[in-house]
Symmetry: C2
Subunit: 332 residues, 2 copies
Amino acid sequence: MKKLINDPKNVVTEAVEGFAAAHADIVRASTDPIYLVRSDAPSNKVGIVSGGGSGHEPMHGGFVGYGMLDAAVPGAVFTSPTPDPIVAATAAVNGGRGVLHIVKNYTGDVLNFETAADLAGADGIEVRSVIVNDDVAVKDSLYTAGRRGVAGTVLVEKIAGAAAQRGDSLEEVTAVAEKVIGQVRSMGVALTPCVVPHAGEPSFTLADDEIEIGIGIHGEPGRERVKLQPADAIVDRLLGPILDDIPFASGDKVLLMVNGMGGTPQVELYIVYRHAAKVLAERGIEVARSLVGNFTTSLEMQGMSISVLKLDDALTELWDAPVQTAALRWGR
Amino acid sequence: MKKLINDPKNVVTEAVEGFAAAHADIVRASTDPIYLVRSDAPSNKVGIVSGGGSGHEPMHGGFVGYGMLDAAVPGAVFTSPTPDPIVAATAAVNGGRGVLHIVKNYTGDVLNFETAADLAGADGIEVRSVIVNDDVAVKDSLYTAGRRGVAGTVLVEKIAGAAAQRGDSLEEVTAVAEKVIGQVRSMGVALTPCVVPHAGEPSFTLADDEIEIGIGIHGEPGRERVKLQPADAIVDRLLGPILDDIPFASGDKVLLMVNGMGGTPQVELYIVYRHAAKVLAERGIEVARSLVGNFTTSLEMQGMSISVLKLDDALTELWDAPVQTAALRWGR
């Protein structure tokens, strides 16, 4: 295992410390229990908390800040955070208008956020939860009943965060998050596996000429293993199921996201974007907004995912609203 | 070779097309010859052009936009662009106040930018050039006489770009670029090599337990190959030569940049940042600004570089000035 780490058991703690030090203008870290919270700590808005296993950075810590998340709770690598830090983060961002939990659909995350919501509720904090399940690759998976939550979560967090920032109520923020979840679909591909630090071995193997279509962000099996093929053909294999799912239709305006899995060169992401945009145009679907880069990663995995979100004027306005986080920033 | 590409010979063209499509609000692409240029094409300021071999993205195309570069000229992967596109890009951004070329110190880049400057000069465009050589690892290298230009180039481009944006003259913009070059030092490490698409093989090999200290961004040899060691020890090996070089001294204010080589998980970059910031604090050096992420990459290489730039009030003001590019954005 070749990694720039010290002790595998300190990876998350040290990364969180480094992150908070590098972005002290935006976040501060609580270390016991571990969570990241906005350093400006606004109190007059609905709070938004997300979290999940580490190893998917910048998700979620990189999305804490003005106009997006109020707190992020990182678990161990690829492991759900326990309820305690979720409760603590929820209490830290509660300004009296309630708190929304944005949860990716993995059994551990769902259970632990549910427990945390109950505990916070018992302390008098009004908590709502939404479950993101944008991955069309498979129904039920290694750690999931139903569909998995993947890179579409970034779009849910940005748009719900903008609604909370402008002062929407907990009910309204929850509704817009649910709306995004209903309108975003994703699917990914892996060229190589990644190595979880405390495991020291790849969680799966792929032959030199093999790729996994529909990979999960923890390396969970996808739809099929196929031979390596040209990027455009791979894009077709992902976009087909995505577009057929809602389905997306001619005349739709969409946000097209090409997300790197962590180890993919940027030139490859743009080669993917190029063909994806072309396919959408051929179907009469207008790419109104774009996002390309590493947003929901799997450590050093090489691969990418495509997400398509159907936009309307209301969602576009929230997407465009100012945001100031470590990983997404505009308008400020 | 496992890559998300179509034909190796079309990698740069297709990536540039995808990039321009994804960021049409910021850049547009010329395809014959190939260069990227600001879509808002301001004419009342000094123009700034950079460029070099592809494979280091987001450098340089990701830095084209308000407050940074006016144009970027990508060569083939790890290959200098020829003079023609440099001349075309220079002419495209010349608004009559002259053009600055920001060139990384590689023999091919220096020669081709020099030829281009002569040709543009013959067409009546006033061109100045600065050569970035921030890498303290080695004197003279595979493609370089003198020190190599690496990630510190990003800081030169941001700060010179801000000076040009506020209306400084060509002489002033050149002077501030030279000042940054004089005050920034960098050094990198590789854990793994990368594969150039048209070569299909890694350009060098490292044993499973071996890393290369002082690696160049094209995989050029560094100072030494050593056994894999804890991240903190690796940081010490890079920071020592960096800090001793100018030298940096107690009381200095600096910008600390931790740059990913393309395939490094973000948690690792922040573990590196954490220790680097600690070492600087112990030496009485204040980290006034930070930048962590993939800015000057070597395709999918795993590794990172550290850059330290000595700041003063004038440079800090230019660093903080608004910027709107695909890869760096704040204040707008």
